[in-house]
Subunit: 399 residues, 2 copies
């Protein structure tokens, strides 16, 4: 695991244990950008919002935010007024030890929904967190934001004079009684807030919204993109030559974090890549791709390495998008398993198409490709299978 | 198991083995109404339609249909032109042995999607099927329509001079490589087609669309309501005094079949009843109820008897309905687990609300009640848990 968020210049980070997690593992993290750092945020679309999401969203909307404090263990969602007050107390304490104005401190929480934050422990651990802040703290930050993640997730990329780094956590859109996908991406480029927001929207959002573990949107999902300007290259924006390569580097870090998230999904044994093309619009393509990736019948078929083209057709047909059944083609890997809405009889023949589709299903990453016509819409979704372990993690884990 | 579809006068039925199922179990069924029988149909909303669905829908739209032939083993979906021709051949053969005009024979299929119907075997078995037709054939009919159902499903009700009977099959909206929920309801009342369609829409549709095993809408779902008039009471319609009680009896049979379907759902250990009230509209309430019932995190929580109110709030918030989080109340059984969007701290206390919620979760049927405001919209959805057995059935079963 690399440094991640502290790979670019202009960032310090830290992670410590406040003693909230029974295991004693690190559970409090801080990332601080140099003065002048700009920020962009992407937040959950769930109507039930965690208190820190509301707080961070408001600050970014007001043009503030150079740092973020993250507590893991409690999601601080469904906690009402008390939760809002707790979030304010946490950012006050974090801003004090970071030595920045309180309005520049953002917050993320992840963990059990409804249970109040363990405020005394968190506040008491703040001085240690501040003392640990340093330019090598990226790894400790990535460790401290984990809940039931089995591995820390970081990524890095370079683009000319610029560096981009990132860290993320999450094993389900909502994980076993613990919530949330969180991702943090940093760069030492100097980027105006509006341009940074565009970058987050164009290059990071597609990467993270393409993920689906269980179709469940968390109350706490947050992606933050910080730009410190510490590379000392002057402001860079869409009109500049260096912009495209910088945007590519940001997207590379986002893609690497997204890939790490899906590989650590709850109970995953196989990653599923669903590609849809020929839909009326990109949105329609995405609806179809999500319907296929989230279908429990497709997910269990992937778990069992059974190509089962009928289940894929079923999911496409039930997606709500007005497709013409006679235009639907489906491939598993390179093997065509449905043409014009019809599963070829050769599929059911001994040693027929099914054998090669089954071999493709046994790969650690399975490609399901669906064409629904000649429209311009396309989408790509990363999902995973539904295994016994998923049921065990989510059914037998008790809060 | 009772007679079901042949409980009302004016119906004969039969079920035989055509030798399609490797087990040798019955796989071909026929239900024939007396001359003058009227019919109403409800069909899948999946865009990918099985050939028999298209055929039956067209005949009912043209005012025809007094009988139905059902083959189990192949769904005759995603089979293209060949499937359409096969469906026509099957109804021709069935109409011949039933001695009725071919346009009055409807068709249903259930089984593997994509695999062609075993037409020679099916056609060859028709004379035996016709010979077996009789007023006591309801049980054989119910047996022959099963795929991976573990029990035959029939129901009966009476209303004054009228009788109502029914049979159904289905263990998932789509079951292990086999498709379909099918339900057949019969009455000996004489009902005009338009009134019968109203009855099906008002009294049967809500019962069957309230079911969700896995959120997957089959390519073959069909509900047929036949009225033979053999009770010899003259036509009955909405303006008649006997109508309301007859409608109640039809709904009673529909509800009994729906309950049997969910109790035999794939891998079910616990039935979940989700009631939503206070939504802007009934449609919104249904969207929320389905989101809760279909959430894999709620379903695994029910499997693990863990009340997990955060997961219920998550599902409500992500349903797409514009709810105000601060108006959301949730009960598990009689125990309040969220009030105004907040999980009360008492829930997390030792021997607190959680204990009584856990006891409610250990019942064979769990009630999850959600209030989202003061709106008039309400809905009730019947679902089930997500167990190891569901993954086994759908992941390890190979076509």
């Amino acid at each position: 695991v690399s440094a991640g968020v502290t790979f670019p210049a202009g960032f310090t980070a830290a992670g410590v244990s406040a003693g909230v997690k029974p295991s004693g593992a690190a559970d409090l993290a801080l990332l601080v950008g140099a003065p002048g750092t700009s920020v962009a945020g992407l937040f959950t679309t769930n109507r039930v919002l965690a208190a820190p999401v509301t707080l961070s969203r408001e600050r970014i909307a007001a043009g503030r935010g150079t740092a973020v404090v993250v507590n893991s263990g409690q999601a601080n969602a469904a906690t009402g007024e008390r939760g809002a007050a707790d979030a304010r107390r946490i950012v006050e304490a974090a801003a004090a030890v970071a030595g920045i104005p309180v309005d520049d401190m953002l917050a993320c929480s992840t963990g059990v929904i409804g249970e109040p934050v363990h405020l005394p422990e968190v506040v008491e651990a703040m001085p240690a967190l501040g003392a640990a802040l340093g330019p090598d703290g990226g790894r400790a930050f990535a460790d401290a934001i984990m809940t039931t993640d089995t591995v820390a997730k970081t990524a890095e990329a370079s683009s000319g004079p610029y560096r981009v780094g990132g860290a993320a956590k999450g094993v389900g859109m909502i994980s076993p009684n613990l919530a949330t996908m969180l991702a943090f991406v940093t760069t030492d480029a100097a980027v105006a807030p509006a341009d940074l927001a565009g970058l987050a929207h164009d290059r990071l959002k597609p990467r993270f919204t393409a993920l689906t573990v269980d179709g469940c949107t968390s109350t706490n999902d947050t992606v933050l993109l910080f730009a410190s300007g510490a590379a000392d290259q002057g402001p860079v924006g869409p009109a500049d030559r260096a912009w495209a390569a910088l945007a590519d580097a940001v997207e590379e870090v986002g893609a690497a974090l997204a890939a790490q998230l899906i590989r650590d999904a709850e109970g995953v044994t196989t990653v599923t890549l669903v590609e849809v093309e020929g839909a009326p619009s990109d949105g329609d393509a995405r609806t179809i791709a999500k319907a296929v990736a989230d279908s429990p019948l497709v997910k269990t078929a992937v778990f069992g390495s059974d190509p089962n083209p009928g289940r894929i057709l079923q999911a496409v047909g039930a997606s709500g998008v007005e497709v013409s059944p006679s235009l639907i083609d489906v491939w598993v890997g390179d093997t065509p398993v449905a043409r014009g809405g019809v599963i070829p009889p050769a599929y059911f023949a001994a040693d027929g198409l099914r054998g090669s589709a089954e071999r493709a299903m046994r790969e650690p990453e399975v490609l399901l490709r669906v064409r629904v016509g000649e429209g311009p819409g396309r989408s790509r979704v990363l999902g995973c299978d539904l295994s016994y372990a998923y049921v065990e993690i989510n059914g037998e884990y008790t809060t």
